[in-house]
């Protein structure tokens, strides 16, 4: 170690054999080099063979796991969306069915009531027609009776006034001559 006593400016305590500037003291180099390569070699070996592959694997695993979880979540989301869509569809179908059923019921009821109304109307119309026919018959009958009564009454009036039976044919002709007027009245 005692090799550089050339330019000792400082006191040079601590055994005295050092160079003035320790980092440039070449006598320390072999030992430093040896221990540097031992230390750095150990570090490099440990890092490249043990620590870094392990840390890298952990990071890769986590990345893979996160990716897988995300994929799972996406798949579940899709499933949930599909279920929601299916549910929505069944709901819509049920609603449509209910609506059609209600419509059918309404239509049926309407048809039934329409039919009932129709039969009722027909019945009424038939009754009306019958009544009208009866009225017309009664009226014609009444009109023919009126003519007979008028002839009878005219005969009776003539007999009372003239004191003798009147000629029925003349009376009938006389009554008939006024009949259109009275018949129209």
């Amino acid at each position: 170690m005692a090799q550089s006593e050339t330019t000792q400016t400082e006191v040079g305590h601590e055994g005295g054999g050092h160079s003035s500037f320790p980092p440039f003291d070449a006598s320390t180099f072999p030992a430093q080099l040896l221990w540097f390569f031992i230390a750095f070699g150990l570090l490099y070996w440990f890092m490249s063979k043990r620590a870094l592959p392990q840390i890298g694997a952990v990071i890769e695993n986590r990345k893979a796991r996160i990716a897988r979880d995300l994929d799972d979540a996406t798949a579940m989301q899709q499933k949930a969306d599909a279920a929601a869509a299916a549910h929505e569809k069944t709901l819509a179908e049920a609603r449509a069915k209910a609506q059609s059923m209600a419509q059918a019921a309404r239509d049926q009821l309407a048809a039934e009531s329409e039919a009932k109304r129709k039969t009722l109307e027909d019945e009424l119309a038939a009754k009306l027609a019958e009544a009208e026919r009866q009225i017309a018959a009664t009226r014609t009958q009444a009109m023919t009776s009126v003519a007979a009564i008028a002839r009878e009454a005219a005969g009776a009036i003539v007999e009372r006034l003239a004191g003798r039976p009147a000629d029925p044919a003349a009376v009938a002709a006389a009554v008939d001559s006024v009949k259109p007027a009275s018949g129209e009245a």
């Binding site: 305590h13 050092h18 540097f36 890092m47 392990q54 840390i55």
Partner: protein, 256 residues
């Protein structure tokens, strides 16, 4: 009044090498010195932290695990950005270099400890390790093509010899700048800290009125300590980043 009896102001004494376990092989001194001891300590600490960080394999990382993964992703990002995906084969090397330097730098902050990265032989070894890796991998992977690194494309033929000469000189001077940068930064930082620390002690040893002035170099020391902490990180980062960029040349020669 300065150096009456106490320790003299010797800012480079902190860099001197002492044997801890004397070992001699074939007449050559291979003692485990304080330098070797602190390198081993840095390696042991790094390995310990890495081992703890690598242990947990749960999906949710523990604190140490998160720290280890952060370091992993940080260095991996650095390698990828500078040397591309192909550079990932040197990821363990860059990772080891970064944390070796960082831990050596940081251990140097402990009072009475030793800063191995303030030894030119250590930084030169690291730089040469990178340099030789670049050279060997470059030639092994690309053969003669590797020397395209020195011939940048698109340069006019009449200045090409000059450019090639400059490129070769700059390539060869890489290990020098690479190693001296780290060495000088750590050395200068520790000397400055020592000098300002000595001022504090000198002033405290002086008369009553001057004692109060000791607060000034003390404040300076505190500030410098923070700065040096930044430098410790920064130089480790710069060294590792340059390693990535040099490796990029080995992987993609001529890819300027």
């Amino acid at each position: 009044m300065a150096t009456e009896s106490g320790p003299a102001i010797d800012p480079v004494h902190q860099f001197s090498i002492h044997p801890v376990v004397p070992i001699s092989i074939a007449g050559q001194d291979f003692s485990l010195t304080n330098s070797g001891l602190f390198m081993l300590l840095a390696v042991a600490l790094t390995c310990l932290i890495a081992a703890i960080a690598a242990r947990g394999d749960s999906g949710v990382p523990s604190r140490m695990q998160a720290m280890g993964e952060m370091a992993y992703e940080f260095v991996a990002g650095m390698v990828r950005s500078a040397a591309g995906e192909a550079g990932m084969r040197f990821f363990p090397l860059v990772f080891s270099i970064f944390f070796f330097i960082l831990l050596c730098n940081l251990l140097g902050f402990i009072p009475y400890s030793f800063t191995a990265t303030a030894q030119i032989i250590i930084t030169a070894s690291l730089a040469l390790l990178v340099f030789l890796t670049v050279l060997i991998v470059g030639i092994k992977d690309h053969g003669v093509q590797f020397f395209k690194t020195f011939v940048p494309p698109g340069v006019p033929i009449y200045i090409l010899p000059l450019v090639v000469a400059i490129e070769i000189v700059s390539f060869l001077s890489r290990p020098v700048s690479h190693s001296v940068r780290l060495f000088a930064n750590m050395l200068a930082g520790h000397i400055t800290l020592y000098v300002f620390g000595s001022f504090v002690i000198m002033l405290l040893g002086a008369g009553a009125a001057i004692k109060a002035l000791a607060i000034l170099p003390f404040a300076m020391t505190v500030g410098l300590e923070a700065l040096e902490l930044l430098v410790a990180f920064l130089q480790a980062y710069v060294f590792a980043m340059l390693t990535c960029m040099y490796l990029n040349d080995a992987l993609h020669p001529g890819g300027h």
